[in-house]
């Protein structure tokens, strides 16, 4: 069997915080992931590109959210420069690809695109071992997510996009697994994972976070 993403790869808890911990911003995170009201509001107003159905737009926004997560992760890893040469090279190449995916989905969705969430990667971007573990988890997750969603797309031209990304994510998964020292292809078949389970796993990482309030309507008491 293939290793389930995150849940098994994170045996020392570096990625996931303790289960059952109550999150201050839980609702907001749910919304940012398209599991809550925010997506629905965005879709209600907006007209999606290509005349895509609401169902297809939902799937694209869900894919976009996963791409945002991956793009931010690799981009930060590249910026912080704490990886060895091989991992750094992989992060640079894969990061550029994930950013291209984000740009394409945003362009296609137009005003219907979900907003980019804010991320807190909690140090997994600045330590090679944690970086690789997280990368393996993200990529296996992305493969399983695309696999579950592709057959659900109503528009065949959107399906063409999804399948061409799906196999690239699988290449990334194998690459990161190889760098991490585990088998790139764990079994003969990759299984799909449905959206609620993917979102549950992503939420459990608490990588998606609230934006700090750095402005206030408050009288200054600076030295004047």
């Amino acid at each position: 069997m293939n290793l389930p993403p995150l849940a098994h790869i994170d045996e020392d808890g570096a990625i996931r915080e303790a289960e059952g911990r109550i999150s201050r911003h839980g609702l907001l995170r749910a919304a940012a992931l398209g599991g809550g009201g925010a997506t629905v509001i965005a879709l209600g107003k907006a007209r999606a590109a290509h005349g895509a159905s609401k169902r297809d737009v939902d799937i694209l926004n869900y894919a976009l959210t996963l791409e945002y997560l991956q793009a931010a992760f690799y981009t930060e890893s590249e910026r912080l420069q704490k990886l060895g040469p091989k991992a750094a090279s992989a992060a640079r190449t894969v990061g550029a690809v994930e950013r291209a995916h984000v740009a394409a989905f945003r362009g296609a969705l137009g005003t219907a695109a979900v907003a980019r969430p804010r991320f807190n990667f909690k140090g997994v971007t600045e330590d090679e071992r944690r970086f690789l573990k997280t990368a393996v988890a993200f990529e296996d997750l992305a493969v399983a997510a695309y696999k579950a969603q592709a057959p659900k797309l109503e528009d065949r031209s959107l399906l063409a996009v999804a399948v061409s990304i799906h196999s690239v994510e699988a290449r990334h998964a194998a690459w990161m697994r190889h760098l991490f020292g585990i088998r790139p292809a764990a079994s003969a078949f990759d299984e799909p994972i449905e959206k609620p389970e993917i979102l549950r796993i992503v939420r459990s990482t608490r990588f998606i976070t609230a934006t700090p309030a750095t402005s206030a309507q408050e009288s200054p008491e600076f030295t004047g």
């Binding site: 696999k147 399948v163 003969a188 990759d190």
Partner: protein, 154 residues
């Protein structure tokens, strides 16, 4: 439509069996060929089961130099695995949702194989943002070109 990929899976099975039997590869490449060969056998069984009586029979293949040494094997494996991905992606949009779901369980494993052997060979496992599809004709001609080139041109 699944018969095209079944045919390619037959080819892969035979290719890796030949490579392992010849003993020209060792170390991680041998591990790769053994494990991947096993995956391809399962793909064949799965596709035969899905196609039932419509499944094409197993053709006979000849591999010659492509399994004779490490270098030739690696290049042939990269071409094969990359072409597998492109063949699956090329058919995906013409499949029923059920057949697509089945093919999707396989194509990402082929992509993993492609990335794996590329990384062993020191080639970038994934440099493009998408894996472009190939038509049936293109799949066949890509493999033809790769082979003919090895032989010294058409």
């Amino acid at each position: 439509m699944l018969n095209l990929v079944l045919e390619l899976e037959y080819l892969e099975v035979a290719f890796y069996e030949d490579a392992v039997a010849r003993g020209a590869i060792a170390g991680e490449l041998l591990e790769f060929a053994t494990i991947v060969g096993g995956h391809e056998r399962q793909h064949v069984e799965f596709l035969r089961g899905t196609l039932g009586s419509q499944a094409v029979a197993q053709p006979r293949f000849q591999f010659g130099d492509s399994t004779r040494d490490r270098q030739a094997f690696t290049q042939a494996a990269i071409t094969l695995e990359d072409t597998m991905v492109a063949a699956y992606n090329g058919q995906a949009t013409n499949l029923t949702p059920a057949a697509l779901g089945a093919a999707a369980r396989i194509v990402s494993v082929e992509a993993r194989h492609a990335a794996w052997v590329r990384d062993i060979a020191g080639e970038t496992p994934a440099e493009d943002a998408t894996d472009a599809p190939l038509t049936e004709r293109e799949v066949r001609s890509t493999l033809a070109r790769a082979g003919l080139r090895k032989r010294g041109g058409p």
